[in-house]
């Protein structure tokens, strides 16, 4: 178990799509077992930052980076990094729940299967355990073999959470995970996150500033691809250091 309290260290990190710069010289640390909230208006670079962490940006034509992102002391943009391994370490939940057109069981077993787990008993264990941690098991235990597309939106999103837990990641990245959900479903996801914090490091990108206030230990405010400020959530919300943070939280723009 690494002892450094900093799990992810971002230094002078910039990201470009072609000629357009989407992240500007970011400097920030993510601590182990914290929930880091990232807030900011649309197109502020929040999602791009998440996709830079798991290198999903690689899949987009014209994507280019400068600077470093160190995870457990290793720059993830070094040429010898195994991207597949990296992505298993950082599970990602997207804004819209995207269950694959398969059964509930197969959705959760999908990642482990690709990682080469074939043993039936082992897969059963992983699926059950992940669904429990995702807070979905009780609702679906009798119909694991029915289509995941038949679940409600909130259930689908918890399925997506369970699906990444099945990979036994170190980090959980969430990109506006509750933007399409009702308040009850949102509450269930937030409850799960509070429980998961003890075993995982969580980065939560959200459009909903109140959500960050409810669950995040620290909060970062992004604007136009730059980091404006980062600090303990209570401090950001009660006494932001930067006027732009204050304006955003008061709803003056964004």
């Amino acid at each position: 178990m690494p002892t450094d309290p900093v799990a992810i260290r971002v230094s002078r990190f910039s990201h470009f799509f072609g000629a357009e710069q989407t992240l500007i010289a970011l400097d920030l640390d993510v601590c182990r077992n914290e929930i880091l909230g990232i807030i900011g208006p649309a197109r502020s670079g929040k999602s791009t930052f998440l996709c830079a962490l798991n290198r999903l940006n690689d899949l987009v034509r014209g994507s280019r980076v400068e600077g470093r992102i160190e995870i457990d002391g290793k720059n993830i943009y070094d040429p010898d990094v195994d991207v597949i391994e990296l992505r298993r370490k950082l599970g990602t939940v997207f804004a819209t729940p995207i269950p694959l057109p398969r059964s509930i069981f197969e959705n959760v077993a999908f990642g482990p299967r690709m990682a080469g787990v074939r043993d039936k008993v082992r897969l059963n264990e992983i699926v059950r355990d992940s669904l429990e941690k995702g807070g979905l098991f009780e609702e679906v235990k009798d119909r694991l073999n029915t289509s995941a597309l038949k679940l409600s939106g909130g259930q689908q999103q918890r399925l997506c959470l369970a699906r990444i837990l099945a990979l036994k990641p170190e980090f959980i990245l969430l990109d506006e995970p509750t933007s399409g959900l009702d308040p009850i479903s949102t509450m269930k996801i937030e409850d799960s996150l509070r429980k998961l914090k003890k075993d995982y490091t969580i980065i939560l990108v959200t459009n909903n500033t109140k959500q960050a206030a409810r669950v995040a230990d620290r909060t970062a405010f992004f604007l136009n691809g730059g980091l404006i400020e980062i600090g303990p959530t209570a401090g950001i919300y009660t006494a932001p250091a930067d006027k732009r943070t204050d304006d955003y939280l008061r709803g003056k723009f964004g």
Binding site: L59, F110, M114
Partner: protein, 278 residues
């Protein structure tokens, strides 16, 4: 002066309905015509006996075999090539000059009349490579002929798989190949199979490209190098040479029924598959 909108609505609807009705009527008329002329010639012997006396007597068994073997060979050759090309074009490369050239080439190939493919197959396979008039020459020629359709339909099917599925697969630690085989292809399969069905239909119905390359022998083929006659070629020769119009229509009726059967069977299988994956 403008028309009353409700009246113009009604005129538009009637007009479109009429066009649909004409289309369906033509289709029904063709099928009805062929079946009415052809069904009286069909019996067990017609299906199980080989043609005798140039096709004046006997049945069409050897041409059924010829059609099945030739079509199967063409599909077996063209499907991996077509689907492979489509996967490469959509998943493994960015859009660039090369992909545009490949796509443009495939599209041009699709517009070439089948008799040109026949001539090409004759020159390359039958004479130059020395395969003679044979199942092999015919199968290869048909494969080239249906390749553009297969590439095109597979590409459309693969492109229509939501990008989010790929994103999920990659984010869960999938490699490109795992993403293609476990996420993209299962979702694209209905579209790919539709392309294969279209190709089967074209292969079964093809005459010009086959007559030049597979020949028109009436024996049951015994190897890849046997010459063979397909049902379409048989129909063409029977009708063209005036050998037997009743046998010709009987053959045509079997052709139509076969194509209907292939379509129905595929839709049935496809529905089962789609239910499993959604």
């Amino acid at each position: 002066m403008s028309l009353d909108p409700r009246l113009s609505q009604r005129i538009a609807r009637t007009f479109l309905w009429a066009m649909t009705a004409v289309t369906v009527a033509i289709l029904v008329f063709i099928i009805f015509f062929i079946l009415r002329k052809g069904l009286p010639a069909i019996n067990v012997d017609f299906l199980t006996k080989n043609p005798v006396d140039m096709g004046k007597g006997g049945g069409i068994f050897s041409t059924v075999i010829g059609t099945v073997v030739l079509t199967a060979l063409a599909i077996l050759i063209a499907t991996p090539l077509g689907v492979g090309t489509a996967i490469y074009l959509t998943e493994y490369t960015w859009e660039n000059t090369l992909t545009r050239v490949i796509r443009f080439g495939a599209e041009c190939l699709a517009g070439i009349p089948s008799i040109i493919f026949g001539l090409f197959g004759f020159i390359l396979f039958v004479t130059k490579l020395g395969f003679g008039w044979s199942i092999l020459s015919g199968g290869l020629t048909l494969a080239f002929m249906i390749l553009p359709t297969l590439i095109r339909t597979s590409e459309e099917a693969i492109k229509s798989v939501p990008a989010s599925y790929r994103q999920v697969s990659f984010s869960l630690g999938g490699t490109k190949w795992q993403t293609v085989t476990r996420v993209v292809l299962p979702s694209a399969l209905p579209g790919i199979v539709t392309g294969i069905i279209l190709s089967v239909g074209r292969s079964i119905g093809e005459t010009a490209a086959v007559i030049f390359t597979a020949g028109s022998a009436l024996r049951i083929p015994t190897s890849l190098f046997s010459s063979s006659r397909t049902m379409s070629v048989h129909f063409y020769i029977l009708a063209r040479e005036g050998i037997s119009m009743s046998k010709a229509y009987g053959t045509a009726a079997i052709l139509v029924i076969a194509i209907l059967a292939v379509n129905i069977a595929t839709y049935y299988l496809m529905n089962k598959f789609i239910r499993k994956y959604s």
